[in-house]
């Protein structure tokens, strides 16, 4: 296997607060290969977005990367000097944020914003950058790009603005795109278009994609692999089919059970009792243990580490030296 585009090892992110240091990300590791889409799913506050932001180096103080390593195609990027990290952002890692309505500077024409980004990273003339910007707008599906390039953000609909944001994210042919809830703020009908656009771009350009969302439907449709996050850790990671059809971690099982199906059986959707702990009150042992129906003594004292289980990897004591059948 070739070297992964993104490799995150034992990442730890801390936020200094008045009540002491809060650990938002605690020992997260994953890889994304070239052309692969990794979906990152979890509840609000599970650390999905913070993981994405730490990869691109945009954790705002008081947050900081407290440990671990992030490698982009072999280059360690978590400790790069700010100026070098700036060159990586936009050029080698593109990012798409949640709200396309606020992601674009309202005072500049979209063409100016794209040209500005292109010329920051690529040595192109104004005209060449503009031609490239028009091509990019065409590629992300903006009709009549040579006219629309001179429009202001407020003249575009939400879906169209997200396409512009995507064009901005890919304008320097990055190796990795981090999409942080790219469809949450959009209409359902537009969501599907944006998702297929991201998927197509990833395929056409061989770009690795880290897709952060809380929408399992989006993950199932788009991703090759999925990481389920809970309270700053990865509970389970594996190929999307396996994790959706045969989730191992009790939390992942709960999540998958909460997806309504079109098959129409009248089963009540499963609900996970309780809610995710606050960062200041993460329980000892497995952070999921107070809500877990299968928790036993060991879960309350010892934190489970990720265990390989076929193509999947799960952080749960149920799978540690216990036959798989007894867990279900």
């Amino acid at each position: 296997m070739t070297e992964p585009v993104l490799s995150v090892r034992n990442l730890q992110v801390e936020f200094a607060s008045r009540r002491g240091t809060l650990r938002a990300i605690d020992g997260v590791s994953f890889d994304i290969a070239k052309g692969e889409v990794l979906g990152v799913v979890g509840e609000s506050g599970a650390g999905k977005s913070v993981t994405g932001l730490s990869v691109i180096g945009l954790i705002d103080p008081p947050g900081r990367i407290a440990g671990g390593e992030i490698h982009l195609a072999g280059l360690r990027i978590d400790n790069l000097p700010p100026e070098e990290m700036r060159r990586v952002r936009g050029k080698r890692i593109g990012m798409i944020f949640q709200d396309p309505l606020t992601s674009l500077n309202p005072l500049y024409r979209i063409g100016d914003q794209i040209v500005e980004t292109i010329r920051t990273h690529l040595d192109l003339s104004e005209q060449a950058a503009r031609r490239r910007a028009i091509d990019l707008l065409a590629e992300v599906g903006i009709p009549a790009p040579e006219k629309r390039i001179d429009g202001y953000p407020h003249e575009f609909s939400g879906g169209m603005r997200q396409r512009v944001v995507i064009a901005l994210a890919i304008c320097a042919e990055p190796e990795l795109i981090i999409a942080d809830e790219p469809t949450t703020a959009l209409d359902v009908s537009v969501q599907a278009q944006i998702i297929s656009l991201i998927k197509r771009l990833g395929r056409d350009h061989g770009t690795a994609v880290m897709l952060v969302t809380h929408d399992m439907g989006v993950i199932a449709e788009t991703s090759d692999r999925v990481a389920v996050m809970y309270a700053g850790r990865i509970a389970e990671i594996g190929p999307v089919q396996d994790v959706v059809k045969n989730p191992l971690h009790p939390y992942a099982k709960g999540l998958m059970g909460a997806i309504p199906t079109l098959a129409g059986d009248d089963k009540r959707l499963v609900q996970i009792p309780g809610s995710m702990p606050r960062l200041s009150a993460i329980p000892r042992g497995c952070s999921f243990n107070p809500r877990c129906a299968f928790a036993f003594d060991r879960c309350r004292v010892e934190r489970p580490e990720p265990l390989p289980r076929g193509a999947q990897s799960v952080a749960c004591h149920l799978y540690d030296s216990v036959p798989a059948e007894s867990a279900a």
């Binding site: 700036r86 952002r89 309202p106 980004t117 920051t120 944001v165």
Partner: protein, 326 residues
């Protein structure tokens, strides 16, 4: 866009007529104008003749119409104390006031924006804290006190700058300027700082607050994610978004700079409209007071109009809402 400008212009005329009513009523409330003009031993017949010649026997509405009509042609009558047309007196002193106000505003804008941007971007440096402290002084100390302190320090103690007047001025047509002579420039420094200090601190605090606000927005975060240089983010993206409210405040403040010039002009014996006004108040010279009121409101209204139009240039969103709404 044209319809918008036109509508605003009509509103401005409405405001000016309202101010005209106030200015006009000053004549009626401040006693009989004839008494102000004649000496004690003037006979009743002579008084009646003057009254007749000034049209003071006409109905109020006719007098008001005449007053507004004249004011629209910049005729404000004869000053009681100088026996000269008020318009000439004002025009003669306007260059001094405008020059002072413009210098004060430029000083306030340049220093205010620079200090504001610096204290927003380097929030925890000692210089940023120093700026904050200075701004507190600028906001809380009254103008005349600052003027007097400056005079004490730079004129009396150090003897670097003149303590009063405009210095030598050069005539360019009817305009007089102190900008072309060394003594004129030196004379401008302290009054400009005195007059502009309050505005400077206001702009600085506004820029700082707006800048901090803008730096937290999604498009700045996205600009960082796009890998733009810090310089481009701070000055291209953040500052321009900060400027919309700054233009409003600075623009509107220009009117008050001219109005507040009264105090600064008095402290520095600056031969401008404000000093003329203060003298007029002391001598109950109603025509000058009324004309000054009209002039200042005209400036205020014009500035408001210009600011509204400038807005649409800086912020493209307003352009389309404006054209859509009308």
């Amino acid at each position: 866009m044209l319809a918008f400008t036109l509508r605003r212009a009509i509103q401005a005329i409405g405001v000016m007529i309202a101010v005209g009513i106030i200015a006009f009523s000053m004549f009626r409330f401040a006693g009989d104008p004839v008494n102000q003009m004649v000496s004690l031993d003037t006979s009743g017949a002579e008084r009646a003749a003057i009254r007749q010649s000034l049209g003071l026997d006409d109905p109020v509405i006719v007098q008001f119409g005449r007053y507004v009509g004249n004011a629209a042609q910049f005729k404000f009558g004869i000053s009681y104390q100088f026996r000269l047309p008020v318009t000439d007196l004002l025009m003669e002193r306007m260059p001094a006031t405008l020059e002072l106000a413009i210098c004060a505003t430029i000083f306030a804008m340049v220093c205010g924006i620079l200090m504001g941007v610096y204290s927003a971007l380097r929030r925890d440096t000692w210089l940023a804290h120093a700026f904050q402290a200075i701004s507190l002084i600028g906001i809380s100390l009254p103008t005349f006190l600052i003027g007097i302190l400056l005079i004490y320090l730079f004129s009396v103690t150090l003897g670097w700058l003149p303590s009063f007047g405009r210095g030598e001025v050069v005539h360019i047509g009817w305009w007089t300027t102190g900008l072309l002579t060394l003594s004129g420039l030196k004379a401008l420094i302290m009054p400009s700082i005195t007059l502009g200090l309050f505005q400077m601190t206001l702009i600085m605090r506004l820029v700082r607050a707006e800048m901090l606000e803008v730096m937290r927005t999604d498009y700045i975060r996205f600009a960082r994610a796009r890998g733009l240089t810090t310089r481009a983010i701070h000055f291209g993206h953040a500052l321009r978004n900060t400027l919309v409210p700054v233009i409003t405040v600075a623009g509107l403040q220009f009117g008050s700079v001219i109005a507040f010039a009264i105090i600064t002009e008095t402290v520095f014996q600056w031969p401008g409209m404000g000093l003329l006004f203060v003298q007029a108040v002391q001598n109950v010279d109603i025509p000058i007071m009324a004309a000054y009121l009209m002039m200042v409101s005209l400036i205020f209204v014009t500035i408001n109009l210009v600011v509204d139009i400038l807005y649409t240039i800086v912020d493209p969103r307003l352009r389309s809402t404006v054209s859509r709404a009308h």
